[in-house]
């Protein structure tokens, strides 16, 4: 720095950094991390008793919610709404979407019960996984999502939120699941589709 200028500015730190930035980009940033879905799904099994590996979600959008078959309040409503939501999606989106419903009651919700539960709601789609597993595995997932909170007299409440993951399995948004924010979820799926073109 020029000595005169330095004198004028006294003891101030006057190091100005002008950074030439790369030209602004319109595309989404490149994702270089590990697939976060892999951690989420570790140890879970589906309604057919098969391990829920991340391969079935590869490159797909994923909606995640938490249920249990003994739930008589929000769960049946939400599952019914999700089923209706999925049916109404345009095929181009539906073919890229997987729904993952994770039971918060793994002690009772064995695969057979989840399968019957799915059937009761007319869910036959291979792209809808009902997941359960060893309680410690499930509770790890529940904790990751902060999907349970303590209630009165040991009765805990599970989250009614629905979460959307993009095709790189980054959690893009959380929505109200009771009632289901169908239009907002669809808007965001359409936006993700648009960005992927």
């Amino acid at each position: 720095m020029h000595r005169v200028a330095k004198k004028l500015l006294g003891n101030l730190l006057t190091i100005a950094i002008t950074i030439a930035l790369a030209a602004p980009v319109g595309a989404a940033p490149v994702w270089s991390g590990a697939d976060p879905m892999r951690t989420i799904l570790k140890g879970l099994i589906d309604q057919n008793g098969r391990p829920v590996n991340d391969g079935r979600f590869a490159g797909r959008y994923v909606l995640v919610n938490f249920i249990f078959t003994g739930c008589g309040t929000t769960c049946p409503t939400q599952v019914a709404e999700l089923a209706q939501f999925e049916r109404k999606l345009p095929p181009v989106i539906r073919n890229k979407l997987t729904i993952l419903s994770i039971s918060v009651d793994p002690g009772n919700d064995k695969p057979q019960r989840l399968k019957a539960y799915a059937k009761a709601f007319g869910v036959t789609s291979k792209s809808w996984t009902f997941a359960t597993g060893r309680p410690d595995h499930v509770m790890r997932v529940v904790k990751t999502f902060a999907a349970m909170r303590p209630g009165k007299a040991g009765f805990d409440f599970h989250s009614t939120e629905v979460r959307l993951f993009d095709s790189r399995h980054r959690m893009i948004q959380r929505y109200s699941g009771a009632p289901l924010a169908s239009q907002q979820i669809r808007n965001d799926l359409e936006a993700l589709m648009e960005m992927s073109r």
Partner: protein, 805 residues
């Protein structure tokens, strides 16, 4: 003390010397404000005495260091503060007199009335949202949009939002966010939309030292608000660099609209830029210094403060912490970001002098003379006591130096704020909930520019004055005529956005220097050329003279709905809504089936307990949703604010999507919009009342009241059906008063309307909440009743079908 302007007009017209008597009448002002004939249609009131500038005990060094007022009581802890387009200040975030985290109450303060109790208007529980730790911005239609926030105490969701129109002073529910956001930052955009970024689920435990990974409790995707349409995700702008869990970068991100029309941000150690078109996009520009460091103490993190003090120039100062519980020494460092050439791919970062005091949780306010005032904060974490920094400091962008100012009296750290007032003083308020401070108070800092030295002492400076303007509602690039006082030597014109501050930051605060030319009557001022420089909305226009003294600010709008005319009387806030004397119409719509009990809230929310003992609720413009557990009666305060009697005869309160027991031995419950709740004992029919909508089990017996059915208008007005089917009214103080007969069901609404169902099935309406037995027949018949307001009735038929008319 007041100054009679009419005298001064004559003096001015004749050009004669000012009489001594008139000088004395001017009182606190060193030189009286002479009235001057206005030449433009919008006339500024310069004749009224400013009570905040009257009778000051001015220290000798005020001209160099400024001065502080005493400590003024404030009705609630002002965690959030906004300047409204009519010059009033709105604060909220905690209940009146309370220290809990519950942001439903509103406090309006009119600085023109001084700062005693008469200058405040307090609306307890006025909002049917909880805006604790929310985010706010004034929209271009003049409404203050408040979104997110909430605590667990009130039971509201962090998705909810409200709008408050300064013209009516009434809050109203608005669109829900997609994601719950606690500590999001909201910024008004150049096209009149608003964006919210960051935020998390309330009280989610987040470790700032987690690896670079997303967390399901953190919102890393922004949302954009379009007035009248609501929120939508900006999915292309997802970023954990900008809004991720590491380094608490989701916590009130520091962000501004750039001159290029993008959004520029600093989230702890990450600098980013967002494009707002379409689905949005975002890129990380580079790192800023480092993460929080106890040795180097960088000016980073949510504990810093920042302000756009000039077009495209930002001062980022203080900090070195992640949250209010994080233990770290504070930073004194200050950095200037120049984003004027961001559109050309250049960002200039210049380190300027450090403050005299390191500070976390300080506040920064840009002043009309272009300097930045920093107040409050602490030298360590959020500690008060010896670590509290009470002195003000003012940074001059021309020299890059800080000047130490006078010291206030109260530690203002976490949850404090500062707000430039139209008279050029700065309201410094809040701190607390949680502690260490519990500041149910505020102070006013008077910057040095309000004073001048005279014979070794300081006196109020003579201020330039804006006499009249051609308009206060301008468009971009428009020239407006500003008549200045005769003799004013104006060298600068300043435009500063009206503030909306919380958590030591105001994303919308910015100052612009306006170009002007001199005219015969004053100056001709050119408004900013485009909304990237000044997003549409409300700004304080001030002239600054050669001595650096600013005029009072006049609030003008740019590309927005017109503000209040200078001197206009603000609307008086009131709750509940005005009485609607109309009767419900005859047209009925069936909206449900199977009801054994029904209830309606003043906001239009309806609930029913059905034959399966399930409660279903129908919010305004929503659809039926069933709640868990089994109940036989239900009452509504508003959406998501329910009380119910379980099949186990306990009374439960709906708290944040769960039921909390608040009473036992009950068979019926009623509630009013002000949060009062009453229930009837299952054994004995005594009526018990609870005056606060909370989880406490604190009930008092309504004296001498035994009831079959109850209905509440408000605290202090209970109607009930007693023995022999008579209708009584109780105010809980005096004995019950007979007001009706032959009733089998009763409903009340917060507008004072009472409706009863007679033993023959006919419906009768009492229009006024008083002890008068005056009933009007309403057409039709019913089996059960609920009334959200005078114009609407919810009822069931004998089959349990639910109708609305």
């Amino acid at each position: 003390m007041s100054f009679k302007s009419t005298v001064a007009v004559c003096l001015l017209a004749t050009g004669r010397a000012l009489p001594v008597a008139a000088m004395l009448m001017a009182g606190a002002s060193a030189v009286p404000a002479l009235a001057q004939q206005a030449v433009y249609p919008v006339v500024v009131d310069n004749s009224s005495t400013d009570p905040l500038l009257s009778n000051l005990s001015i220290p000798a060094k005020a001209a160099q260091a400024g001065m502080w007022s005493g400590v003024y009581s404030w009705p609630s802890i002002p965690i959030h503060a906004s300047l409204l387009p009519d010059g009033r200040v709105l604060t909220y975030g905690a209940p009146p007199g309370g220290t809990v985290q519950d942001g439903r109450s509103l406090v309006f303060w009119d600085p023109r009335k001084g700062i005693d109790s008469a200058s405040f208007q307090v609306l307890p529980n006025a909002q049917n949202v909880d805006s604790f730790c929310s985010s706010a911005t004034l929209l271009s239609d003049g409404k203050l949009l408040v979104s997110g926030g909430a605590s667990t105490i009130s039971g509201f969701s962090s998705r909810e939002g409200m709008v408050l129109d300064w013209r009516t002073s009434q809050p109203q529910r608005d669109y829900n966010l997609n994601a719950p956001r606690w500590y999001g930052t909201m910024t008004k955009l150049p096209d009149g939309r608003a964006i919210i970024t960051g935020g998390s689920a309330p009280y989610a435990i987040n470790d700032p030292n987690v690896p670079e990974t997303p967390l399901p409790t953190i919102s890393s995707t922004p949302e954009v608000y379009t007035p009248g349409q609501g929120w939508r995700s900006l999915v292309g702008a997802y970023s954990t660099d900008a809004f991720g869990p590491r380094s608490e970068r989701w916590w009130y991100p520091r962000q501004w609209v750039s001159p290029a029309g993008t959004l520029f941000g600093i989230s702890t150690e990450k600098i980013w830029e967002m494009r707002l078109g379409g689905n949005g996009s975002i890129r990380t520009l580079r790192d800023f210094k480092t993460r929080v460091d106890n040795n180097t103490r960088p000016n980073v993190g949510p504990t810093s403060t920042a302000v756009m003090f000039d077009t495209g120039r930002i001062l980022q100062v203080g900090g070195n912490g992640y949250n209010n519980g994080y233990q770290s020494p504070s930073s004194a460092a200050a950095t200037v970001f120049d984003i004027n050439k961001l559109g050309a791919g250049q960002l200039t970062i210049t380190e300027t002098a450090p403050m005299n005091n390191p500070r976390q949780w300080a506040n920064a306010a840009v002043l009309p003379n272009g300097r930045v005032l920093v107040t409050g904060g602490t030298r360590y974490a959020d500690e008060a006591g010896n670590n509290a920094v009470l002195s003000a400091e003012i940074w001059d962008p021309a020299s890059g130096r800080w000047t130490l100012g006078a010291s206030g009296r109260v530690y203002r750290g976490y949850h404090s704020n500062s707000l430039l007032l139209p008279n050029g003083a700065v309201l410094v308020s809040g701190g607390g909930a949680p502690g260490p401070a519990t500041n149910l108070n505020a102070e006013i800092y008077y910057p040095p520019y309000l004073f001048r030295s005279e014979n070794g002492r300081s006196v109020l400076a003579q201020r330039p004055r804006i006499i009249s303007l051609s308009t206060v509602a301008a468009n971009f690039g428009q020239n407006i005529e500003v008549q200045t006082a005769t003799g004013d030597n104006i060298i600068r014109v300043s435009l500063i956005a009206v503030g909306s501050v919380t958590h030591s930051f105001d994303s919308n605060q910015r100052r612009l220097k306006l170009s002007f030319t001199r005219t015969a009557s004053g100056i001709n001022v050119t408004m900013p050329s485009n909304p990237n420089l000044a997003p549409p909305g409300y700004y304080q226009l001030s002239t600054v003279d050669a001595a650096g003294v600013p005029s009072r600010g006049v609030i003008v709008s740019i590309g927005a709905a017109a503000p209040a005319l200078p001197g206009a009387t603000p609307a008086t806030p009131s709750v509940p809504a005005p009485v609607n004397p109309q009767l419900p119409g005859d047209a009925a719509t069936q909206i449900g089936t199977g009801a054994v009990a029904i209830a309606a809230g003043a906001d239009g929310t309806i609930a029913t307990a059905n034959v399966q003992n399930n409660i279903w609720v129908l919010p305004p413009n929503g659809r039926w949703t069933m709640l868990e557990w089994n109940f036989k009666d239900v009452a509504i305060i508003g959406e998501n604010r329910y009380y119910a009697v379980g099949t186990d005869n306990n009374v439960y309160r709906r708290d944040n999507n769960r039921w909390v027991q608040v009473a036992q031995d009950s068979r019926a419950v009623a509630a009013s919009a002000d949060g009062t709740v009453a229930h009837i004992n299952a054994s004995g029919s005594k009526v018990w009342v609870k005056s606060a909508d909370d989880n406490n089990n604190q009930w008092f017996w309504a004296p001498n009241v035994w009831a079959k059915k109850i209905a509440l208008v408000r605290k202090g007005s209970l109607y009930y059906i007693g023995g022999e089917n008579n209708v009584w009214r109780s105010d809980f103080i005096n004995g019950p008063v007979l007001v009706g007969r032959n009733a089998v069901d009763i409903a009340a609404s917060s507008d004072g309307t009472i409706t009863v169902l007679s033993t023959d099935g006919s419906i009768w309406r009492k229009q006024n909440d008083d002890n008068v037995e005056a009933w009007v027949r309403v057409s039709g018949t019913a089996t059960r009743l609920a009334t959200p307001n005078a114009g609407t009735m919810i009822y069931t038929d004998s089959s349990g079908n639910i109708y609305r008319r």
